[in-house]
Structures are given as C-alpha cells and as structure tokens.
Symmetry: C2
Subunit: 155 residues, 2 copies
Amino acid sequence: MSLDPTHQPEPGSKTRLRLWLRLLKVSGQVEAELRRRLRAEHDTTLPRFDVMAALARHPQGLKMSELSSYLRVSNGNVTGIVDRLTEDGLALRVAVKGDRRAQMARLTPKGQQAFADLAKHHETWIDNLLGALSPAEADTVLAVLGKLSEPEGKT
Amino acid sequence: MSLDPTHQPEPGSKTRLRLWLRLLKVSGQVEAELRRRLRAEHDTTLPRFDVMAALARHPQGLKMSELSSYLRVSNGNVTGIVDRLTEDGLALRVAVKGDRRAQMARLTPKGQQAFADLAKHHETWIDNLLGALSPAEADTVLAVLGKLSEPEGKT
DNA sequence: CCAAACCTTTTTAGGCTTAAAGCTTCAGGT
DNA sequence: ACCTGAAGCTTTAAGCCTAAAAAGGTTTGG
C-alpha cells in the first residue's frame, strides 16, 4: 500500500507531524531546563511554582477547587502540592466563612517573598533560553500558534 | 523599582515570555489530547507509546540503557514501562549474547501490530490537532523553532 | 424534621519521573 | 587467581499526575 502516487492522504500531513515533533522538542527542552534550575537554584519544582504563581495573582486566596480548575489539574492533585507548600511555610489554608466544607489556599508573607524571587529569575531564564529568537520572529510564531489556541470556527 | 523609564532590562523580553507561555499552552493542549485519546481509544499511555515507537524502529531490539538514552529518560524509568509492556504481551526481554548483564527489549509480534495501529491513528490526530495551520505556516514555525534546537554558535 | 441530592475536599490506587543505592557482571591489572 | 573499578539493570524513596471512591458539610423537597 501507498505505492499508489495518487494517494496523498493529507496535504501537509508530513509537515504538521514534523512541526509537532519540533514543538515537543523545544518546549520539552525549555521545560526541562526550567525544572533543573528551579531545583538546583531554588530547591523547588515546576508544579509548586505554578501553584505559587496562581496564588500570587489572587492575594485573597483561592479555594482548592478554584485552584485546581485554574491550573487545569485534577482536584486531588493540588491537595498534595499545597500540603508540601504548607509544610515549608510558604502557603496556608484558611477556613471559608459560611461554608465549613471549603478552604482557601493562600501564600504566606514568606511565600509571597519567595515567589517574587522566583518570578524574577524565571523571566530572566526564559529570556535567555529563547534569546536566539528576535522579537520579530517571536511575534511571528506567537501569531501562528495563536490560531491553535483560538479555535475560531465562525466563518 | 521599575518606575524608572530608562530601565528596559531586555528588548523583547516581554515578547519572549509571551511566546513561551503560548508554546507551553499549545504543546500542553496537544499532548493532553494525545494522552486522552491514547487512554480512551487504545487503553495505553504516552510513555508506553514512546517506548513502543523506539522499539518499532529497532526490530532487532534495544538494550535497556540504549532505550533510556534514546528516549532521554532515566535508566530506572524504562524498567517499569518495559515491565508493564511485557505484562501485556507487547514486549519481551531477551538475553544479550556475551554479556549477561544486559538485556534487549523487543516488541512481540502482537506489540508490532499494536504499534502499527497506534502510529496510524497518531498521525491522523496530529494532522487534525494542527489542522488550523497551513503547510506554509507550519514551515515558518518549524524554521524559527529550529534556531532553538540547533544552537549554532559557529559564526 | 429528615433523607436525598449536591458540593468540597481528601484519600486511594495506579502509573510516570528522577536520583540514589544495591546487585550482578565484566574487564583489566597485579 | 584475586582485587578493583566500571557497566548494566533493578529497586527504592519522594514527588507529581489522574480518576474514582470516600468522607464531611450543605441544601432542599417532602
């Protein structure tokens, strides 16, 4: 099969597959380097960073369920991460007034300070890791990839 | 701090950070969808798919250490994955002649057949998920991201 | 009032991941 | 033959991830 030159299942199928593999490679490399630096220089992990970033944007705190839907991870997942952040004194749980089922996760002052430090380094790291791209190139890719995130179907 | 308008730490730093976030978003979405379909339609996982793909390219088999360096994952990691593939009858370990320490992991006929089916669907999925991009757009992104994978320093 | 339905969170079970430790085997030097 | 270091693989510990079940708390309809 496929010796038939008239087959051509999809135009650009091959190119898209190559694009996917490269996308996977680049994001994997950057992500791996971020994880490595977070661990080596700050003794933390990417999931912890993500949770802290979410909480930093919401100083009043987030319910556990809000946090999990915000981060697009499972409900039971954030339990463990917040547990460990709490053990390290970076986060805490506070009761929700009027609903004894719910709890708000919130950064401690120590956690806010730690995140500010992390965020500063994070931006620098990204700028270094993607430094081979000019702003114009970055904008180009940004625009093209934007088509995938916004599945505009309204023709 | 940063009220000083002469600061400007990096030109394009903001754009690169946005690019990274979009890259993360797109690859995360595609990857999550692949995992979901692998699970729902084939009762398997992405790591298993990756191992099977590696073994499919090497019909004579791969040593465990070759497999782990090929996939860029830790040595102890593939042990468990090959274990589970073996339990399902998709892979097997064969002794390496002349070195009783080493073992070759290899796909069984059942495993080869299963992978052929997976690979066919995989290509279709990718083509669908990235279908919003024209071949020209895909080529553009491919070229730009190529600069990151090939850190050409020879000027 | 109270039981069923619903909501919020934690717990459980299973898989993936790494780093580090342990076991066996190999290869080379004495 | 013996020792030693390195190689190959597995095991273990800790964290992350999900889906599903369990445990409390709340709300609502009779």
